[in-house]
Amino acid sequence: MISHFLIWPILLPLLSAIVMMFFWSKPREQRVISVVGHFFTLISAIFVATRTMKGDIYTLFAGNWEAPYGIVFVGDALSGALVALASFSALAVSIFSAGSIGNGRASFGFFPILQFLLMGLNGSFLAGDLFNLYVWFEVIIISSFVLITLGSEKAQLEGAMKYVTMNLLASIIFLTGIAMLYGLLGSLNLADLSRRIAESPDIGLINTAAVLLLVGFGIKSALFPMYFWLPASYHTPPAAVSAIFGGLLTKVGVYAMFRVFSLLFIDDPFIRKTIIILAILSMIAGALGAMVQENIRKIFSYLIISHIGFMFAGLGLFTELAIIGAIFYLFHDIIAKTNAFLISGIIYKIRGSFRLENIGGLYNQFPYVSILFALALFSLVGTPPLSGFWPKLYLLQGAFADLNAWMMFGILLASLLTLLAVVKIWIAAFWKKPQVRKEIQERAVWHTLDQQHKIILLTPIIMLTLASLLLAFYSSEVGSLAALIAQQLSDPRIYIEAVIPTP
């Protein structure tokens, strides 16, 4: 039985991109195709997710070359869930960008490249091969490079210089790690590597390769101390682009860490301790950074760094509770961060600025929309009973069971600082009286939009907020899915057996 369905979340974005490229100079048609394409991708991704959620692991041997010789796509519970969430967030962003991206950017291929980005994301979640993972990473970064520079504003180009340099460097470091692993073990298939590492005598060299991968993925997922490129660049492109970057790009790095370190290197105490220390520092550094910023999108950028720390903390502890917390947090964070950046886009449309001193009084003017935003922002913080609360609870339990006082301190402090940062946004943007400045007022286009346009812009935020509420209401179900993932991650034999069955 061949699991053809695994390939569709990768092929459908490609197909829609190809179709859109035939409509190169027709932005209207591209908008429609983009949303439709993302919708069908989401359906195929949900199909994958519902199958993998039952605990089976599916494989697809591309070109009919069996593992470990050919390229293999593997769908386990983690990949399935992430493919579905990524496609969902991408659909939301696609609807938002259909209403907010101007014809100028669209005529330079914004929409096809958004599809290529989703293709890369889904591909890296499903890849069962280290080099294949590298190739999907490159698909992601080249599309993100184009998205971040499209428009060529001064801030965009300056931010892009840092973004491009650090991501290229991360890719090269990742490639060096791959080269070392191949030289030592003679294979790149993850399942095969996992088997061979257990028997290999060269622990020192393998740890060197592990550290190279840690640095490579660490740069990509903006882990302390390799995060400085993120707040320098994520606030420069249009809000739709920031949303998909903030929601998904760093999470691919986290996913790769989980996949590679659970299968290959986690046994080593040195690696685990390193990850834990970096995670705690990342939580605190990101939250402190968020405190001092004055630009909404920069606050969210620093919060990304802080929350990446939570996920890495779960990976470092690697007990069942901790992994459940980290995976749950990953699900929550994809939805919450995409939503946060989209909301900042709406605020920009209303007030014409991202800076806290120029916005204000939103609650008086738009009470219903403000309550919607409040739900999204406070689920980002983790106020009970919203979706950010449950994973933190699991993580705290995990840290407590491990008697890791530093980590508990880090989690609690970072949560408190996140709360303060979001409260700061809330007070400045929603309660405080607005300061009207003329040159900024001209960029506020919200009141000129017609009703239909406003609905298009608000739909993705309603979708994401609903998804976030669902995560909270069904927290026990999500918890049991995370438990299944934790079980699959902590026992590599399940994965190996599914990819390379012992005869």
Binding site: I142, L157, A160, M161, M180
Partner: protein
Amino acid sequence: MEILLAVTIGLLYAAGIFLILRRSMVRLIIGLILLGNGANLLIFLLGRISKGKPPIIPEDSKVFTDLYADPIPQALILTAIVISFGLQAYAIILVKRAYRVTKTDDLEEMITTDEL
């Protein structure tokens, strides 16, 4: 041969890292290109250098008896070269655009995105 390659790779990495620590954008790009080439050579070296035949089993036999060259490193390097071709073309155009907009080659002057 291995020693020569190892020294070359070391030099490429060292030169690349030296150049990306400079303040000039052009040197930064050249440094990244050198690092990428170093990584490709590293794959080539670690895939064991052997003068072998292509790994295709003749029709009249079941197994390959002759010395054969490992095809995987070659495939990896080709893929990596194609990818870096695209990325470098992109990076060069980015530098050109950035230079035209900011009127400077000095990375220390591109700090407006880091301000509060």
